[in-house]
Each structure stands twice: as C-alpha cells, then as structure tokens.
Symmetry: C2
Subunit: 345 residues, 2 copies
Amino acid sequence: MELDERKLKILQAVIRTYLETGEPVGSRTISKYTDLNLSPATIRNEMSDLEELGYIIQPHTSAGRIPSDKGYRLYVDTMLDAKESEVQNLREELEEKAGRIDDVLQKVAKFLAANTNYATMVSGPRYQSKRVKFIQITSVDEENLLAVIVLDNNVVKNQMIRIEEPVNQEMVVKLNFLLNTTLNGLDVLEINLAVIQKLKEQLGEHTQVVDSVIEVVGKTLVEEDDLAIYTSGATNILKYPELSDKTRAAEILGAFEEKEIIHNWLGLPEKGKNNESRDIQVYIGDETQVESMKDCSMVTATYHIQEGVYGKIGIVGPKRMDYDKVIGTLNSLMSQLDDIFKEKK
Amino acid sequence: MELDERKLKILQAVIRTYLETGEPVGSRTISKYTDLNLSPATIRNEMSDLEELGYIIQPHTSAGRIPSDKGYRLYVDTMLDAKESEVQNLREELEEKAGRIDDVLQKVAKFLAANTNYATMVSGPRYQSKRVKFIQITSVDEENLLAVIVLDNNVVKNQMIRIEEPVNQEMVVKLNFLLNTTLNGLDVLEINLAVIQKLKEQLGEHTQVVDSVIEVVGKTLVEEDDLAIYTSGATNILKYPELSDKTRAAEILGAFEEKEIIHNWLGLPEKGKNNESRDIQVYIGDETQVESMKDCSMVTATYHIQEGVYGKIGIVGPKRMDYDKVIGTLNSLMSQLDDIFKEKK
DNA sequence: AATTAGCACTCCATCTTATTGAGTGCTAAC
DNA sequence: GTTAGCACTCAATAAGATGGAGTGCTAATT
C-alpha cells in the first residue's frame, strides 16, 4: 500500500487537528475539516489504511485516531511551512544586554518559554580550545593576592589567593614574568602537574607563598568551568494533561533542576534530516532516548558565537507541540542571535 | 475556657499524627495514641473545645480534625524538642568547596532538599556596603583593555573594554592612577554621573578612548549584581497531595523559577518568636503573605559570612511539614556553615 | 471500482445511585 | 468528670445505567 496524495492530506488533517485539541480525531471531524469533500465513511477507510501503515494509532477500539511517532516524524520532515514569527520585539532588548552573554541567554530562554508555552533550556557556549593569553598577579592587600587570567576567547577568570605573609613587589613582578613566559599560549588542557612542577623548579629560590600561588593558578586554569544552563517555563509542562500525570511531571520537572541532565539532552546526536538550512533538530518521543520523555518532543537549535564556539537551545513539550510555530520561532531567533553575536565580535 | 495540660497533650497528639499521615485525625486514633488512657468520647469533648478555641479544624462535618494555622503556630512555638541531625557528613564536602561560595550554597540547597523532601532555596550573601578597594586597567591586546575592580568585600568584578585604537602604556598608567585616587574608598552607591563627569574633567587632555573606559568602569561599578539564588527540590512539592493540585503546584513551582520572587520570600519580616538561639523563623500558611502559598509553610534561617554579610536559607513544604526535623537540621547546618565561613575568613 | 449511507457494535466518560465506614454530637448511665 | 451507646452526617468508593462518539462492515449508489 502506498501513501497517495489523499492519504497524506488526511494524515496532515489528523495531525493538525490533534495538535490543537489534544483529543483523538474522528472521521467525521476530518470530513468537515478538509477541502476534500469526502464522507466520513471514506475517511474511515483511509484512516484504517493509515493506521495499518503505522502513521496513526487508535488509543482504544471506539476512539478517534492520534498520530504515532512515525506520523509526527513524517509531518515534521515534509509538511511544515516556513513561517515568519514575532521575534523582532526581542531584538532590541537583547542588543542592549549583548555584553553579558549569560543575560542574553537567560532572556532567550524566558522569551521562548513565554512565547511557545513549552519548557525551554539554553546551554551556554562551549569553547573548544582555550589558550592562556595573559596572566596577572596583583597584590590586593597584605593578606591577598589576586590572580587574573585571560584566555584567548577573552574569558576572564579571577581567583583570590590568601597568603600568610606579605609578598614584596619585586617577587610579584618576577612571578608575573615567569607565569606569563611559561604558560602563555598553552592550551589549558596541556597544563598539568608536570608543567606546574617545572614551573616551580625554574623559580630557583622559592618561598612557600610562591608555591601556593603557582598551585592556585594551575588549579584555576584546569578547573572545569561549570555548565552554564539556563531554563525557563519548566512548569509549562503541567499545562498538558498528557504530561501532567504526577509521577511523570515530577520526573521531567526534576530533570529540569539538574544541569547535567539538561546538558545531556542538548548533546543528543543529530538526526539525519535538517529542517530548513539551520541546525534545527526534532526529537519525537523515544527519539529523545530518555525514558521519562517518551511522551514529549524536543526541538533543538544551535547558535554560533564565533567559529567553533556555539551553544544549544532546546524546547520541550508534548508530542503534539506546535512544531510549525516552534521551528519558525527558533529559525527566526537563531538568525537574530547570530547577527547580534557577529556584531559584537 | 483555658488550655489545660490535657488539652495541650491532645492537641500535640493531633498535630503529630497529622504530620505523619496527612489525614484528618479522629478521636479514636488519639485515644489509642496517647498515654492518657481516655476514651474516644472524652477525647471528642476535648477536641470540640480545642476547635472552639481555634487550634483545630474540621474539614467537614463527619471528618476528623486537622490543625489550624493557630494550632501549628502553638506547636512550633512551644512543643518542639531540640534534636541532633545528620549534617555531619556534609561538612567535609563543604570544606573542600569553601573557596567558591556559590558552590557551597548550591550544595547546601541540594543537601537540604534531599534530606527533608521539601523544596529549598538559598540566597547568596548580600553585602551591605561596598567600597572600591582597588582598580586596575590592563591592556590585553590591541583591541581590548581589561578592567579589574576589587571591592572591599573581596568581590572581584571584571569587564572587557573594546577599544578602537591601541592605547599606549603611558596612558594606561595614568588612567590607573587617576581611577584609583578618585574612586578608592568610595561606596559604589556614591559613584554617580557627577563623579564620573568630574573624573573626566580632571583628566585634562582626554581622548575618546579614555572617555569610554571611564564610562564602562562607572557602569560596571554601579550595576546591580544579579540576585544569587539557588534552589533545589522544587518538585518535592508534588509529593504532597494537598499541594499537588495542578494549578496550585504550577503556581508554586513557577515561583521557584523566578529569582525575584524567591528573593522576596526570603525577605519576609521576622516574626516575634525566635526558636532556639539562631535566627530561625517559621511562617505558616497566610503568614507567608503569598496567596499561592497559603497551604504551605516556610522555615527560614540566616547564615553569616562576616559582620553584616549574610544570606538566607528557606525550606518550603506543606503545612504539615516535619517542623521538628527541619528546624533541627537547619540549626545544625547553620552552625556548621558559620564555622566554615569563619575559618575561611 | 470508488464512494457513501446505514446500522450494529464497542467502549470511554459521565452521571446516578447504593454502600460503606470513619467520625461526630448528644444523652444517659456510671 | 468520664464513658458507653446510639443516631446521624458525609466523603469516598463501588456498582450500575446512560449517552455519545467513533468504528467496521455491508449493501446500495454513482
């Protein structure tokens, strides 16, 4: 059996209607909905075929049909129109904040949650390689030194170093010189115990203070930056009866509290099809690879800050999410974001 | 009518039982539970009195009784035993992280949520006055200057400043000198447009670059630090039937996504009674002043990092929360925290 | 050969109606 | 003052009864 034009139209009608109502869709509804002018009986026959083909499902004998994962997939891959959306208003707000990337991303998450009524999450940019550009030790007061480290992606780290005894200016200069000559240009991944040990040796005569400074600087450099994850609208999940069952909702909402979990979600491998030109991916039901999300869908998109520096945005909702709108909004948002970051660069 | 010894005992029994079960408590249950050896009939009479006094409530005619807000309040104020709790294990984990206060606080939130099964929130320390200790402008590369600002509470701010044309070393030195002499020791609240204007004037000959540097430094100083709020276990709310009604749950959980709201909650005025010696406050039902929390209770505690620098910890659960355990845990945790921060200081 | 009307059948959702049982208040006895 | 006894109330649960949306099948129509 083949999917002819008419079956496709009917499938589309079933899905569209279901997306709106969340209720199983019957033949009579479709008969009225479409421009096909077919009687319910005919529709029934076609729907029976569509079920046999695996695109729709009957929750129970005398109910209408709802889309299967396979049905959604077909819909997402072939039946969506490109649409413009209302991202414009966000633009200027973002422009203003563009300095603080974390603010921008938080705002993006909020905006998306508010506009789509789904749960959203945004991961901060991951820098692929980080080289030391510049290190500076400064004496703040008698008890504290301040280490400021600039990486080549212009990320700044700083770390107070508590010291027992005051350090004289000469020593600070010497330390700065040594640290810079040794570490500059090194990838932070290359900075290990051996390098630190070597550093200490090079500084022939060295006090305990110097030791600890070098140690702290080394540690600061190596330390994992924590996952920057911004979420918003997690509670939107509760708006959809099919997800708001208490245990399931608790699982999903719980996951939204754990940055690591979110990070994993956003790290899902890309599916073959690329919708539009942007890196927008859709995961339906089991495709999310997460048991507790088997009744959800997730749409992800990738934004780029500069070559090799990117992060992801994800939107989680029920399978009957308004893919059209979500993808449209994401598309539009992505191009705005890329613009903003490009300017800034 | 007075609250005699026996009435108190019965009230206590009602509350204790209700805390465990969450179900209205009947006279027969109490009759068996207490060591009073009274028949259900007698208990009934006493309970009738207790209801008249406003300490307990009958949800409907033929149900048992549940504590009223007034009943809980009496219980919290007078009937709790001090108890030791299992905070010890947390200690060393915290010690290790003590450097990064935000990590510590996040961990505290998680620990409390996991241990109490309620929703928890922690606000980062608020510094009452912030004076500039030290400013340093450094030239990072041809396109960027880096401003590092240390406040007297040892909070470090830094800000990249993009510049059009390279700045020579001499100018940087001059800038540093000027900024430090003018701003050091000033409270950030005192740094307004006028001060910045004066700064510019003092620097007789000044290029546009210098202008922008001063502007950026000023802005960075004045900018509100964002609210540091850490939450955990919000979804625990769903575990309590009396709160997991969809709309109510959505409201509470939604609030947990908004830092401002949390911040307001934690800023509630203190109630008269102080439980134990620490600043532990209990807000029951309407006392939270938040409509959507009228079926919740909140316990807050204050931790101190140094003189005048403190933050708050809050635990939100159903009215029938295990006050005994929560307060015990908080008490113990607070003293641990205060210790840790003191050492670190 | 495709479409449609008609009809019997299924099954969920909803409403109605018992039934149960926990709990109370009251009265009279202890 | 305490308690046993009893009638009464009311939520929660269970057990039918009803209705309606929807299907699948068959036979008639185009």
